[in-house]
Symmetry: none
Subunit: 223 residues, 4 copies
DNA sequence: TATGAATGAGCATTCATTCAT
DNA sequence: TATGAATGAATGCTCATTCAT
């Protein structure tokens, strides 16, 4: 019987000004599909991150996006599709962010450092993104490779060439590129997932220098 | 009225031989609480890992353990309690395993290497354990620090002394112990969680040498 | 999969005519909230009265109201809320009925007589109302004063003035008003509850004259 | 997993003294079946009254009686049979109590007054008896006439003769005996059931004189 | 197109009853 | 005989999805 909540959300949604005396109902809004889609994805990311995929209520997402429940299903076939689109959206942003940071540099090692640092900063600024990755990993393993890993694979060549350049320049050790990349990938993934798990851990960027330092030079004293 | 499945499980439970034409109802069995508990935890771990915490049906756990659903609730107050007990059980095993491997060595670095290697081997042999950790991370964050991280914190001192010994011996770099430990922890956690995510990745022990090598000596050519 | 019953209820819902061979699935109907609410309360009263509060299955109420189970929960938060709303609804009707009968008279004694008679008649015509009162008394005592008695207390002043008028007129004995009212209340309550308990007892209105006569003039010969 | 409670109840049950060092387990007791039966009925009455028939847990009854659950079923076939036996037991006591009070008098009116007064006093002293009657009325109507009413009918002749004597003596009005008896019966039943419903009502014996006075002489001023 | 009322499969938990010990 | 571990039918409630308006 949730009929009364529309009032509460009326101002949440879209900052519409209601005329005096007008019933407290959101004016039928006409927005471009793209705009709607973006709002839905944002609402979904927030709710999925906060509640977890299973507990997230599509109704809450609809409320938060300021649309009816039916509209959600007009844009996304299922809750799962909405979730995946959310993830994909976050991954787009994350990749863009990393690439922009990288491309501000020319030195291969600085390119790598800048990219990883940007990823850490992104995670710090968007903790819900991390939650989304965990949720995907937890819920959708049996339905195929999670997008996080799929995208990782798609980026492989793009980054592998960076590593190869470093090896060719004699700066990085001559190990299999995959080993070097996966090692860094695991470190980043592990750091991200554990960052939000313990409440007292410092933010990721603050740990970045030490982590990257270990990755580059190791934990042991150089012999 | 789930009577049809009893045939399937008739041999699961207790090796009782049913005569032909006899009603396929499995005889009620009595076991020691410890045995029952162990069987329930094993069944729970398997089902939780396969379906995920939310999708796991207590009935399926009961079936798999060869007991009625009520018996599950006789041993564990709620589904959540059963899940947590499963996790705790796996963590016990994992820690025992790591300690045993460690204590076969005296050299601090070998102790560390052996422990991490044992953890990797354990994860390879018990992929459902990894799933359980992810499920816990995904579902129970809002209800307090997951047991995986809680236990990590409890083990902290035990392992910190190992790291301190390595630093004191001039073998490990003089960085904050937490940085060294967390770096390794993140690497292990990340490797474990991603190991079951991509189907084509080699098993963890096969990657161990390279990963640990990177952790110890870094990715860069020593300058 | 309760599909078999839909045939039975197909005509209940909305008079839709199903073609021969057509799937017996009843079309989804939309009604005004008031109408739905009324239908649900009627169905609930009937089922609660027949089965008792605890044994009543919300599914059966939904079936009888020609809606899905979820719709029941759309209108009432819990089974208990539905039950209480049922009771309140019946009490509303009962009170209206008694007041209307009372207000057709001016003489205070006739007003009282007419009201009680109307209550008896209502109970005869709505035996499920009596059951509801008993169920409430039996199940909800520990959760506060049952609505039946709460409403009784709320009506107190309204009726106390009638009794005071009778005493002031020298017609009713100068006893504490509460004693007179509670005596009548107990008689009515006892008569109602026992009326449906023994199958061979005459209906309440048929007993009314004698009961009210005893209440007014007593069982003894006047001295 | 209620294994630990036996300690708590060990002293409840039977005041057994546990030897020092002896495991805190109730010594296997050997009691006469009659004794057991009585204890079970007492425990049942208490629990049924407190929780209501449906919510009452047979386990709690067993605990309170200091026996295993299985033993309850050794004495009574079903929960319902136990409940009925409880009721019957209470009715026996109540009837005995009323008869004893009655038989201390010879004057028919005093006999009646004493009996009803004794019933009121019994209800005041045994509020759980009243609850039991309500529970029976609420739960078992559809399975036949409740014992309360059945016993009432069985006592009919015994009391009808008292009323007839009063009429023959010209003291009671020449109305159908059933009307006089049922009127009193309804008054008593109604008073009993409502007595425990409103927390602020005085006890029944305190109301007895006024109620019986109304029954005998009516609410109106004698004309 | 947008809505939100309606739907019903799904699932955790309880507890009367049984039965192996 | 006495026990309490084991059982599984029963049921309130949720929420993704549909569809009448």
């Amino acid at each position: 019987m949730r009929t009364d909540q529309s009032v509460i959300y009326a101002f949440h949604h879209s900052g519409q000004v209601l005329e005096i005396g007008e019933s407290a109902k959101v004016r039928r809004t006409r927005k471009t599909p793209e705009e709607r889609r973006r709002e839905l994805l944002a609402a979904a990311a927030s709710v999925f991150a906060r509640r977890g995929y299973r507990s997230a209520d599509v109704q809450e997402i609809a409320d938060r996006a300021g649309v009816g429940k039916g509209t959600v299903y007009r844009y996304f076939d299922t809750k799962e599709a909405l979730f995946r689109a959310s993830i994909a959206n976050q991954l787009d942003e994350l990749e863009t962010c990393a690439r922009q940071a990288r491309d501000r540099h020319t030195d291969p090692l600085e390119r790598l450092r800048a990219a990883i640092r940007a990823v850490f900063a992104y995670f710090d600024g968007h903790p819900e993104t991390v939650e989304l990755f965990i949720q995907e990993r937890a819920e959708f393993l049996h339905r195929g490779v999670p997008l996080y890993f799929l995208r990782s694979a798609m980026r492989h060549e793009e980054w592998a060439s960076e590593f190869r350049a470093l090896i060719a320049a004699g700066r990085m050790r001559d190990m299999p590129v995959d080993a070097l990349m996966d090692g860094l990938g695991d470190l980043v993934y592990g750091a991200a997932l554990s960052s939000t798990a313990s409440p007292h851990r410092p933010c990721l960027v603050d740990r970045f220098d030490q982590l990257f330092e270990i990755y580059l030079h190791g934990a042991l004293v150089q012999s």
